[in-house]
Symmetry: C3
Subunit: 456 residues, 3 copies
């Protein structure tokens, strides 16, 4: 099963104990270092590269590695043969490697079948991929489910090639093996889960998606060291086939997933972007919108669409899980996307750190969001005699604490969560939560066990 990380402080859990973010500088370095360490590995949807990646993650957090044998049926899909590469190149008559997998693993199209051929440039061309608009970048191409082979190269290099004959060598293997994914389960007070998923199938591409892996790892470390109401499940899966395999194997348990985020492309310098779940108004959607609204800086939120990352699977109509996608510049909207320019310089330590902090704020909000009932619903309670209201009245009004208390009392009718109240009041959640805790303390508020979601 999933690696089970102990929940060290449940007994000492204090509901108003926030998920505290790590200190900025160490955080930035830790994430960028992890990306740098993972960057050279040749990953694909199967193979040793994924295993090596997961082992490096295991050095930082408990992680269970799962193997799904080639040929396993997972819903409409079949787990493919395992792909590994020892060498691949194109050499000219002089024996010089003009394209060399060992120089950059993007040079070989992923899942290229083994080949040993002599070909003239004209015959080769259909197997060569370049980016004419960015002649110094190597593109990234895959052919997972159709037998094929190919090389990706700088357009500038292609233009230097003479017409003669070339030697094509692909020492790859496509053999029965398995698909590998990693899973960590951090149990909380309840079995209700928050799912964090990122893909681990891309080779030397830093933002897409080593950035997601790095943020997920540090999130897991942080969450593991705090008491928590929710259980957290971290998935490190090959894109599409990996999440499908996990869903197929866990179909009976997915109803536990109450909130989820796919993390992808969270390291570039662009603004934060959130793509809503297919449900559109799930609590994760509301929480993310709230956190982004009250955080500094620009952001975008857009509606679900069925193209993107593994939210495609989690949100497929048969599951329709409340899983959104957290990213910075969306895929395909930056020129470096799926090219060698998505490198270590492209991911910014401060972007990684901000992405981490925003996700943590969302989880912290979800941990503390509940629906309460005002125990004194007829007229306001006398807050003054409980020390919750200023003694001398009549002054100009800047009493955000008192106002938060009044919002909580007014809104806590069993049909509105603290987040609903914070949104209506237009104030950050933590102010409303602090007010709620103060009211619980004096007995004016009780958690509502059967909230009725009001029609708004």
């Amino acid at each position: 099963m999933a690696a089970v990380y102990p929940n060290p402080s449940i007994s000492a859990m204090n509901v108003d104990n926030p998920l505290k973010a790590l200190e900025r500088e160490g955080l930035e370095r830790a994430m960028h270092d992890l990306i740098a360490e993972l960057y050279p590995i040749c990953r694909s949807i199967t193979g040793e590269g994924v295993r090596e990646t997961l082992r490096l993650i295991q050095k930082r957090m408990p992680l269970e590695m799962h193997e799904v044998p080639s040929g396993t049926q997972v819903f409409d899909w079949t787990v493919p043969l395992e792909w590994n590469v020892s060498d691949a190149y194109i050499s000219n008559r002089e024996g010089t490697r003009v394209v060399d997998f060992k120089a950059h693993n993007l040079h070989l199209m992923s899942y290229s079948v083994p080949a040993r051929k002599k070909m003239r440039l004209e015959e080769l061309r259909p197997h060569l991929f370049t980016l004419p608009d960015h002649p110094d970048w190597i593109p990234y191409r895959t052919s997972y489910y159709t037998e094929n082979w190919g090389f990706c190269l700088r357009h500038a290099d292609l233009e230097q090639l003479s017409d003669g004959e070339y030697n094509v060598v692909i020492d790859s293997s496509l053999q029965p093996g398995s698909l590998t994914y990693g899973e960590t389960y951090l149990p909380g007070e309840t079995t209700d889960e928050i799912l964090i998923s990122c893909h681990v199938c891309h080779p030397s591409l830093a933002n897409d998606n080593l950035s997601g892996i790095a943020v997920a790892v540090i999130l897991a470390q942080t969450i593991a060291s705090h008491a928590r109401r929710y259980s957290y499940r971290f998935l490190f899966v090959p894109g599409t086939i990996g999440s499908i395999a996990w869903l197929a194997r866990n179909e009976h348990r997915v109803s536990r997933v109450k909130h989820g985020l796919v993390l992808t492309g969270v390291g570039d310098a662009g603004k934060v972007t959130y793509k809503r779940s297919r449900q559109g108004h799930a609590e994760i959607d509301q929480a993310m919108a709230h956190v982004l609204k009250h955080a500094d800086g620009p952001y975008d939120i857009f509606d679900f669409s069925p193209y993107g990352y593994d939210e495609r699977q989690y949100c497929s109509p048969g599951f329709n899980l409340p899983v959104g996608c957290f990213m910075r510049t969306p895929h395909g909207k930056y020129p470096e996307y799926h090219s060698s320019a998505d490198n270590l310089d492209f991911v910014k330590p401060e972007s990684l750190a901000q992405s981490y902090e925003l996700c943590l704020s969302v989880f912290d909000l979800l941990e503390h969001n509940s629906t309460y009932i005002n125990t004194n619903p007829k007229c306001e309670p006398q807050l003054g005699r409980r020390g919750l209201y200023r003694a001398i009245a009549g002054q100009q009004e800047k009493h955000s604490k008192e106002l938060a208390l009044l919002w909580v009392l007014s809104g806590s009718d069993g049909g509105h969560s603290l987040l609903d109240i914070a949104d209506r009041a237009g104030v950050p959640f933590n102010q409303i939560f602090a007010a709620a805790m103060a009211l619980v303390q004096v007995g004016l508020l009780e958690e509502c066990l059967k909230p009725v979601k009001a029609h708004e």
Copy 2:
């Protein structure tokens, strides 16, 4: 009953066979020619002019003529006496006709009672109608349900009249007869109907409403030659009393009307305008909004109001049928409205053709709009092995066909029609429909027999 036009190709019906518009040039000529042929006829809500009009329509399409006798009670109304005119004029002492019905049938107020009088200009004035702001135009006036008589003339001509005595002659008849309307029924695969209604009571006015008649006739010709799911009913009725008479006689069957359009003023050069049905969110309203959004050019959509054309009757609260009104510049919003300036030059062949094409697109959309169910709702199906997905991935994204497939799979949960999905995806209906048909073909989609309209 209604003329029944055979549905020649039901057995060969192919759901993805579009209602194909006629070729532009012949179309424009056919419509303008019909308007020119109908223009000189003196129509009113009853009388020979209506019959002559319907007979000319019958030369182009099968049409049943219905006669409803004077005195027949139709809901709150009574079919009036039949009105016919042989001659009408005002002549001066010299015997010169200064206002002459034979020169332009707008000169006589519709339903003017017979008269033979000698009157001085001052006595005549309350019976004379002009447009002082447009001194060269003849206005259009009616007095159907109050006994009266009057003449309409150019204000410039009125100002030339000397003060002396005039001879008023109205050789009209108001006698028991009948109200005449035309009806054509084009049966489809189902008895669910699309209603197209236009009024045929206006004399020499080209846009209001010979344009509606012309577009309806060519629509009927086009639809008759295509296989169709829906049955179509075309009504050519005198305004108000005609639609009321039809509703009174067909009360038991109106529930078959699933969508409807009143066509009026569809030939002027102004932009297209759609007035929603009283329901406001009926499928016809959604379909028209979709077609107009994705068509070229400016348009207006506005909410139902209870003033206008026969949609007033179809949408009365006791029927509340999903019938909108399709027009160009709304009635009363162009100065030529209800005057002799609404003539053959005022209706533009290209406007008529565009109106026709837009209506046909709406009907085509309605023909093909259904709710489907994704038969593989858990995770995406593997489209690649069905030939529906590109073999080599990783490239920049311009895959509108694949995206349409994903939208259909994601949206087809039994609660959303293809039109709902197209609207959410923001793409033209035909792309979504083509994707749906491709998915049906490979068994990934099935029509949903009991769609549940989701609350959005």
Copy 3:
């Protein structure tokens, strides 16, 4: 119980008899005179000042005075000791009064406990309140529920005080007595009530809230002299504790309150402001929005928030009454708020009159708003033969009366009130109401006894 004002003309009640506003000039003078008469009185939440205020109101309208003994439990609160003051001052060594309650009753913090002390200026300072930004204004401060004493003074005067010793004298009493509030009940045809509430606890402050009292008094006079469907209840209560006391004593009857307004700060020159009830879409909210939209001049409407006046109590979740707050510039949004600058010059006769007229328009609308049923729902009725439609047709359209008739017929399906119809039509309520009455007269409309609120 409440003073019962006879409803003189119920038998002669005519539903289309509007609540007619008083003539402007006398009205402005009557309200400003009342404010001037009440201005010098030292009011607080208990004490003789409230009684004197209510007695002056009783000269203008029947009013029952209620006494709630000190120590009475009212929900979470306890009625405090009664506070009265005979004298209070600070004098210097020479015996000169440097701060004197008798010069302005704002000089003494409300509910100051009795004191006789000699203190140096440094010791005195924590008990002195000024407005440094407005050095010539005296602030208003209270300490109802915490034993304390204090003086409020002009900052300019504070700066003149020398460092020496001062004599503090507060001849106040805090003794078992009672809280006093006033209540008037104007019975209507039904026991459904409209509640008008204003606070009477502020000393020499003109806008906050003598303006509310003045408008309420004249409203009561006007309403008392007209037949009415609703019963009206006017409350003149000390803020917070007074409305809580009333709610506690009338808990079993509050469900009769169908609409309500808290009137406060209705005399300043600022624009009209309406704060919605906590329900947000109550009929009072819709009616006020309609009246303000169709009235001349600027206005603001904002959502409920739990800070403000006695709507805090009426709208507490255990009651959630449809009570909004009508004001001009909101509390705390004008610098004169809670200072001696909120004086007789600050309240404008024309603002008071406009506030009165708007409230009266809202009550008039509520009196006449009902849901009707079109008795001829299938097609339009023939309005012409009932004299409700023009005889000669075809002219340009400016027929607002006919259009209003059509809107009422179209909208009166049992699911929409006349106000709903007026809002959809975008025309003033009185046009729609007049049309409805004309249709009732000819039998085409009947009041709907069981309206079903349509989902819109």
